[in-house]
Amino acid sequence: MKLHEYQSKFLFREFGIPIPNGQVAQTPEAAAAIASQLGVPVVVKAQVHVGGRGKAGGVKLARDADEARRYAADILGMDIKGLVVQQVLVDPGADIQQEIYLAITNDRGAGCPLIMSSLEGGMDIEELNRSRPAAIIREHIDPTLGLNGFQTTHIASAMGLPRAHWRSFGQILWSLYRCYIESDAELAEINPLVITGEGELLAVDGKVIIDDNALFRQPKLAAQRDDSGEPESESLARAAGISYIKLDGQIGCMVNGAGLAMTTMDMTKLYGDADHIGPANFLDIGGGASPQQVAAALRIILSDAKVQCVLINIFGGITRCDEVADGILTAYNEVQPNVPMVIRLQGTNASEGNAIISQAQIPNIISAQTLTQAAKLAVAAVKERA
């Protein structure tokens, strides 16, 4: 789960990391009030869950309250990569002498936390990693021991940080590590961490991503979830315990298991791409899905008006094909879809499941034996309706 910039920075502050003294506004008037209260030039920053806000015009420097009001009016309601801006952060402008990159993330391959730090902060870290990887200092942390003092000294020294800042940098790194651990973060990033004209360190921008699997023990962070940019169907799916992501194609896919769900999407694209036909969604009903979950999944798929055909591919292990078939019938009777459905049931109780479907004698249902056949039939069904 992604936190907004302001949520990330307010979280940093709880752990003792210095941040600009800004506030969040939902209206231009509120932005102006914050700016006049701060009494200095301010930065008005769009709060949306995408990168590249600055390039999109979502970050503006305002000299006074009037300008802050105007810029906030421009930015609020702005569409940045498909997300509508609903709040802005109004921060006092910082006197920036030097920009540092500092982040802690999970290193999958090494199976432990990784600290990355660079004096060339501010810019896109992926770009820096491509162009000058040596400019990034990397330090792995033993997850059973945690961060050690010598490691913070090593990082400060290796990145070439002037000695005058080692102490405050070390304190910020300790705080960030505690924040990363105690918040179950996948990523805790400060970019930039600036050195100001007064020689102080300040976290001017921040990004925190929380491990979804740990939200059960992070109720305060879970409560900060902002779904406003997310398609309604994805929120509905999450509530039903289904993993769903909306895409742009015409074939609505319902599959058990994430790997097979991606594969099923890939097959619709493999056989449909030449005719601009592809997957309308990723959907994993999970292992051992109940008929109610199957019905919920079908309703969510059909809520997408672009869907021209539904492809159900179930390879039953834990999941029982007869229960899936019951769910399909329940949902069918309720939703009465007017698009064809290609159904392929294989594995545990497949013959029982197929019998339930064929006995129901539903028009518009096409049976398939293999995944390849199912994908081809779904593509053909979309072409026929075009």
Partner: protein
């Protein structure tokens, strides 16, 4: 022969009295796996289908001499259960549980390595040596004994490929589901090395997906250390960047972990990559 498990493996099921644990313990027994006991704290002294239930792994290992354990307990208890198994001296720990926080897994994986226990998973379907034993939830019907080793990040995709191989008359030495989580106990390379050294495995099928770089590392290993032919499939070619596809690990992030990048690396390493999992048998024939 085979890798990891065979008919002589002595298996404990952690969570044997739970709904999932009980269901799959019965299927494993029916397949011929030597399930010698189970552990459920608070239910020690009970019996399950003729095998004893213990309160602790230490007591269970002392009494049964088990070498393998299957963890089926919920995510909140699974990290502790894995470490308990390693502490009790279990050599091979297979964890089915999904949704375990990554922070916990980083500690658990480090702990298991320190104690010399091999962990498979979490969030994996388990291991099956067809005709001999299965530890996990892989359905018996998806594979026959043979000489192709299968290693995969994804459960149901593995069933799909196993079933296609069976229909094409191709048998399997061992199937290993390594799991789709970001931090796992056993990697593609670990399993490829085992297959390379297993005299009865002649070819290998590798089933990967988007996210992370495990397939790239595997491609390096195939290029530099493997003599046996490898066929592969990578799921998620049609997945857009920045969207997590179900598995906690399956996301194309910052241009890294895309299917195309992995397919190119595998092909450059000499592996044959299928664009359709049902075409894998053709590449192994």
């Amino acid at each position: 022969m085979s890798i990891l498990i065979d008919r002589n493996s002595l298996v404990l099921v952690q969570g044997i009295t739970g709904r999932q644990g009980a269901f799959h313990a019965r299927l494993m027994m029916a397949y011929g796996t030597q399930v010698v006991g189970g552990v459920t704290p608070g239910k020690g002294g009970e019996w399950f289908e003729g095998v004893p239930v213990f309160d602790t792994m230490r007591a269970a290992v002392r009494t049964t001499n088990a070498d393998t354990s299957l963890v089926t307990v919920p995510a909140r208890f699974a990290p502790d259960a894995i470490m308990e198994a390693a502490d009790a001296g279990i050599q091979l720990i297979i964890c089915l549980t999904e949704h375990i926080p990554v922070a916990d897994m980083m500690k658990v994986v480090t702990f298991c390595k320190r104690l010399g226990s091999r962990l498979i998973g979490p969030n994996c379907p388990g291991v099956m040596t067809p005709g001999q034993a299965k530890v996990g939830i892989i359905p018996a019907m998806v594979a026959e004994p043979g000489n192709v080793g299968v290693v995969s990040k994804s459960g149901t995709l593995t069933y799909e490929v196993g079933f296609a191989m069976k229909n094409a008359g191709i048998g399997i030495s061992t199937i290993v589901g390594i799991g789709g989580d970001p931090v796992i106990g056993t990697t593609f390379v670990d399993v490829l090395a085992m297959f390379e050294n297993d005299p009865e495995t002649e070819k290998v099928a590798l089933l990967g997906e988007i996210g992370g770089s495990a397939e790239i590392v595997a491609a390096d290993y195939i290029k530099n250390a493997m003599t046996k032919p490898v066929a592969a499939f990578i799921a998620g070619k049609s997945a857009p960047p920045g969207k997590r596809m179900g598995h906690a690990g399956a996301i194309v992030d910052g241009g890294e972990g895309s299917a195309d990048e992995k397919i190119q690396a595998l092909e450059a390493a000499g592996a044959r990559v299928a664009n359709n999992p049902e075409a894998i048998p053709n590449l192994l024939a």
